[in-house]
Amino acid sequence: MANCTIYLDNAATTKMSRTAIEAMLPYFDGVYGNPSSLHSAGQAAAEALQNARERIAACLGCTAREITFTSGGSEADNQAIRSAAALGARQGKKRIISTKIEHHAVLHTLKRLEQEGFSVTLLDVDENGLVTPQQVEDAITDDTCLVTVMYANNEIGTIEPITEIGAVCRRKGVLFHTDAVQAVGHVRVDVTAQKIDLLSLSAHKFHGPKGVGVLFARKGVALSNLIEGGAQERGKRAGTENLPAIMGMAAALEEACASMAENAKKLTALRDKLIDGLFAIPHAVLNGDREKRLPGNVNFCFEGIEGESLLLLLDDKGIAASSGSACTSGSLDPSHVLLAIGRVHDVAHGSLRLTLSGETTEEDVDYTVQAVREVVSYLRGMSPVWRDLQSGKREFIIK
């Protein structure tokens, strides 16, 4: 393991910001009361909790009462979808519309609802991972209770037309949820202007702590409990609030939103430099939309090699990356997202995701481009597939 790590796996998780860490510290042994307690120590904690709620609401463009704290993005996704499904079922509406490239927190919840008698329509995406508002509109039926489309994809970074989809759903009177785990703190999100009814976010994707997130539910959208117990979160999410983490999340979100424009500009430039550098490798293809893309996301497929060995060798060179190959997913199939955008298995196995942060430098990008070139060429040198591709025995899929 090289001692100088270039961390390019920020879509998996981020390093906590100093500001967020410091915002947490007073709540471990200073203000440590239970926000549900009536004494002063408890009320000090309750005040802090309310303060965090208001600050987070301000970042999202909603009111504090519309914020429910959860254990993270997955819980928020589960609760959002289950709540909308319960509301729909009461009116006999049991159809949910989503896409093929959602996170498993969404897809697996939908699978479970299917087993419980709901119908699920998963929309196809185009070769860049985009779904159109028209597709959503055409799919909405009289018995549709929810549309759930992710704000930005965690693997290929494609940003969906959320504002337009929100408008379609509002016009059709269907609830709209978006898994915005990869988007919040990175691109501008305004739940009111974008007509979003339910939104999930996770703090550790924007330099906040792990294990804490938010479910935004527009006023009037009643939530169903996943966790029963005490009356925390207006009775919708039992369990003593993780106050230090919530304070850290609020600080991290404020910081991310305050520096968003500047950070996005810097990251986009680095991202494009990295993309251009990797395009110099023959038989490589960019996954995801070139323009409608998260500022820090790069995702490529290299023909003739397998992603896990690529990751391990990059790790040896001090680069932390990710792949959608079957070997890294623990299943026999490569990423469902890569398959949905039309990458065949052979090619999807050779994927590499590099996700940048504000700490990434131009030198890091140059070093990474060089390292990926070397490793890809080394692995191709021992690949029987590459030999067949070169000799013409097998046809190139990526031209």
């Binding site: 397998e306 060995s309 391990l312 065949v344 298995h345």
Partner: protein, 143 residues
């Protein structure tokens, strides 16, 4: 990375016997690019001895390490001994593989057997077919 043993990482980082034997006496290729691993073994056989062996692999870290270890285990050995190489022996020599990676050692065993089968076929040597796996029957690549 704690996913793999030191031995696996050593064979992955410094694979032994990578390459091609142009005038190989037996060549065996197993696996499927769709599943994410293909192994190709090249054997040079002198008399009854495997005098040289090379491999090419498209696959994950454990696939490359399994190929490398398998070549080490049969190089310089009599053909009869190479035929007896099991996936278990390959995995054990690597100080174990994670459960979901055991198929990599199976591929290594099968690639060697296939190369030996090719050697027998090419030279019109009679052999017991029952001791060779039928690739078609393998369920690893059901897609």
């Amino acid at each position: 990375m704690a996913l793999y043993s030191e031995k696996v990482m050593d064979h992955f980082r410094n694979p032994r016997n990578v390459g091609v034997i142009e005038d190989a006496d037996g060549v065996g290729e197993v696996g499927n690019a769709k599943c994410g691993d293909i192994m190709k073994m090249y054997l040079k056989i002198d008399g009854d001895t495997i005098s040289d062996v090379k491999f090419e692999t498209f696959g994950c870290g454990s696939a490359i390490a399994s190929s490398s270890m398998a070549t080490e285990l049969i190089k310089g050995k009599p053909v009869s001994e190479a035929l007896k190489l099991t996936n278990k022996a390959v995995a054990e020599a690597l100080d174990g593989l994670p459960a979901h990676k055991l198929h990599c050692s199976v591929l290594a065993e099968e690639a060697i057997k296939k190369a030996l089968q090719d050697y027998y076929e090419k030279n019109g040597i009679d052999y017991d077919r029952s001791q060779f796996p039928q690739c078609e029957s393998c369920e690893h690549c059901e897609l």
